[in-house]
């Protein structure tokens, strides 16, 4: 156990960071929607799943014929743009159809949660039965969709000091960090970002100050969707295949990351994502890979026992400091 852990320390760290980057990006969507609406957006995981299909479709239809590390960056950018656009659009559509009517009727959060679960089932089944079959032309059984062979040739290994890193993991990490910086700047520097923060803090006052709540909610879903889409593109770069239920477990993990960092807190979600990714990978090299999810959720329970509102505490507006 301990020997495995020590031998695997650097590879685990690299794996954990690139996994944590994906968790963190997805966690942003959960935490922002929660901050504004106090709603666990269960269907966010499926927005991510839609993104993986968009990214996969892009990479398959691009027909990459180059070999080498730097070509990968260009491919990833195209994938991220397409997946981000598709996922962002889906998230906005989701908000309009499944949440806005409930919000207008003043429904309880529990009703909204059930609506979210229903939307999640719907999206999963839509991809499992209709999209995979008619767009990708595969049957549901064995519906795992891999990327094409050319794409795999783009991956190489780079040495940084004593550590071997494959270029895809590096790109995942750097890409995710760039997105996070962009989001942080958006929320803290722009007018719309201020609207989001004020709505999270006190919706009533925000309305009185002229904030358009519907627009804020739409923007929040759009940004969450874009982040999930970029995460999905990075996921395809790393994992190289997808299926209609990939969102579920990753979504739960990402939500766990958001809670770990303090839900509603953007920087907390980022930290939570990396902490969860790292500890989960260390844990699975320590206890064996079958126990990976148990490690993640036990960690969550342990942290919440001592820090009942997450590592950094709640609320979007505190992230400003």
């Amino acid at each position: 156990m301990l020997d495995d852990f020590i031998n695997q320390f650097w590879p685990s760290t690299v794996d954990g960071l690139s996994l944590g980057a994906i968790y963190a990006l997805v966690a942003l969507g959960y935490t922002m929607v929660y901050g504004v609406l106090r709603l666990i957006n269960f269907a966010h995981a499926d927005v991510f799943m839609i993104g993986t299909f968009a990214a996969l479709w892009t990479v398959r239809s691009m027909g990459v014929d180059q070999v080498g590390g730097f070509a990968l960056i260009g491919v990833v950018v195209v994938m991220a743009v397409v997946a981000g656009a598709v996922a962002g659009g889906s998230a906005m559509l989701l908000e309009v159809t499944a949440y806005r009517p409930l919000r207008k009727r003043g429904a309880s959060r529990l009703a909204a949660l059930i609506s979210a679960i229903g939307a999640s089932i719907f999206i999963q089944q839509l991809f499992g039965t209709v999209i995979i079959r008619h767009v990708f032309g595969t049957s549901k059984s064995g519906g795992k969709l891999p990327v094409n062979e050319h794409f795999r040739k783009l991956k190489t290994v780079i040495d940084i000091g004593p550590i071997h890193v494959s270029n895809d993991k590096l790109i995942v990490f750097v890409g995710a960090v760039l997105m996070m910086i962009a989001l942080d700047q958006f929320v803290n520097r722009t007018k719309l970002g201020r609207g989001i923060r004020s709505t999270a803090q006190d919706p009533e006052t925000a309305v009185l100050m002229g904030v358009n709540i519907d627009r804020v909610v739409q923007t929040t879903f759009l940004i969450g969707g874009i982040m999930a889409g970029v995460a999905a593109a990075l996921y395809i770069v790393r994992i190289e295949q997808t299926d209609y239920f990939v969102g579920f477990l990753l979504g739960i993990k990402a939500f766990t990351a958001a809670v770990l960092g303090g839900i509603g807190n953007i920087r907390g979600a980022l930290a939570g994502g990396f902490v969860l990714g790292l500890l989960e990978t260390y844990g699975s090299s320590f206890f064996g890979s079958g126990w990976r999810d148990v490690v993640a959720f036990s960690l969550l329970i342990l942290v919440l026992m001592f820090r009942p509102t997450g590592i950094f505490g709640e609320s979007l507006q505190q992230a400003r400091a």
Partner: protein, 383 residues
């Protein structure tokens, strides 16, 4: 379930007339109520009848096993979850864990150690209640959504642990769980209701029906007692309850343990009927569906919760002929039902009042400010 008659009456008479029916029910003399209860029980006993089945079940499916394997189990589990979510107002997303504890208890003790069904039933109830306490004790200090994600995590921990433990055969699960022993061979109207065999599902349905009736009586008595009032106080405002001297932690733990025990008993019957279980029987989807049943029916209202669980268990089975598309339609139906009846199909009156005030027990969504036009909408819901 036995609610179908009432449900029809409900949908026919909506709005104010429903309130009138409720007033009449509240004013009705004892004998009238008891005769309605009796009629409902008789209706439930006659429910596995093939004539009803030909309408309720698709032609290829056995209506009696649909009743016992899906509907009655879901109704029982929803009644248990209703204690936690509906009465005490604690959001539990990992309720399936207790169902799994019950199922695995009988699987281990009956098939490996040769205990009888009834002995393991008692043991499983104790174990699942203990599991509720073990989960609740460290986590019940958490509020709202933190509790939700922790319970979700606990549900996954139980499932993944079962998947990784060679003691319970990992993903293959445990086979050869004995049926409950036959109590009596007596036959009535072509059924042997106490003979638990392989072929006939009806005895299991009657067993579950017995559990359901016991649970209803138990939960109803609890709801009317000091415990129920404490839960209501915690649900409405936990801080205020604590200040008024309600030991909130103790009562929340009790809600968890009681809900868990009911879930565990469901798991025992499920395992005894199926004779084999594996971790895939206990996925998050089960927790989500049972919660959907509770909220859809009308969280906190016992007949409503039973109606909701019935709908959630019955709809996907009834539309099995649509094959792959049935879950697709089910997902859309959940969203639509929540949009058109956010308070549930058959809410309790008190919950309706809470909803009109905009708090809804579990609190309302943020960013929900009564702008122009929205106040009118809120009034509409409150009628």
């Amino acid at each position: 379930m036995n609610l179908s008659k009432k449900a029809n009456a409900n949908s026919a008479a909506s709005g104010l007339s429903l309130d009138r029916a409720r007033d009449a029910w509240a004013d009705a003399p004892g004998w009238a109520r008891w005769s309605v209860y009796l009629l409902l029980v008789i209706g439930a006993l006659l429910l596995p009848n093939q004539t009803i089945g030909s309408f309720m079940a698709p032609s290829s499916t056995d209506w009696a096993s649909m009743l016992s394997d899906q509907i009655a189990i879901y109704v029982l589990l929803a009644l248990g979850l209703n204690v936690v979510v509906g009465m005490a107002g604690l959001l539990d997303l990992g309720y399936v864990a207790f169902y799994a504890v019950g199922g695995y208890t009988i699987a281990i003790f009956a098939s490996k150690h040769g205990w009888s069904f009834w002995e393991t039933l008692v043991l499983a109830i104790v174990f699942s209640a203990l599991a509720g306490v073990i989960l609740g004790a460290p986590t019940l200090r958490l509020r709202g959504d933190y509790l939700a994600i922790v319970t979700l995590g606990f549900g996954e921990i139980v499932r993944v642990t079962a998947q990784n433990s060679s003691y319970v055969n990992g993903p293959r699960g445990i086979q050869g769980i004995p049926h409950p022993p036959t109590l009596s061979e007596f036959e009535i109207m072509g059924v042997q209701p106490l003979k638990y065999g392989l072929l006939d599902s009806r005895p299991y349905y009657y067993l579950l029906l017995f559990f359901i009736i016991l649970t209803i009586i138990f939960v109803k008595r609890l709801d009317r007692s000091r415990v129920g009032r404490a839960w209501a106080a915690i649900r409405e405002d936990e801080d205020a309850a604590e200040l008024m001297g309600v030991p909130t932690f103790k009562f929340k733990l009790a809600a968890f343990a009681i809900g868990a025990a009911i879930g565990g008993s469901g798991g025992v019957v499920f395992a005894g009927k199926q004779t084999s279980i594996n971790p895939d029987n206990f996925t998050f989807l089960v927790s989500a569906l049972i919660l959907a049943g509770v909220v859809l029916g009308g969280s906190g209202n016992i007949p409503g919760v039973m109606l909701g669980a019935f709908v959630v268990a019955w709809l996907p089975e009834r539309f099995r002929f649509m094959q792959d598309y049935r879950m697709l339609i089910f997902g859309a139906a959940l969203v639509l039902m929540m949009i058109f009846r956010p308070e549930g199909l058959w809410p309790s009156r008190r919950r309706k009042a809470e909803l009109a005030e905009g708090t809804g027990g579990m609190g309302s969504m943020g960013a929900e400010v009564a702008g122009p036009g929205q106040a009118a909408a809120a009034g509409e819901v409150g009628k």
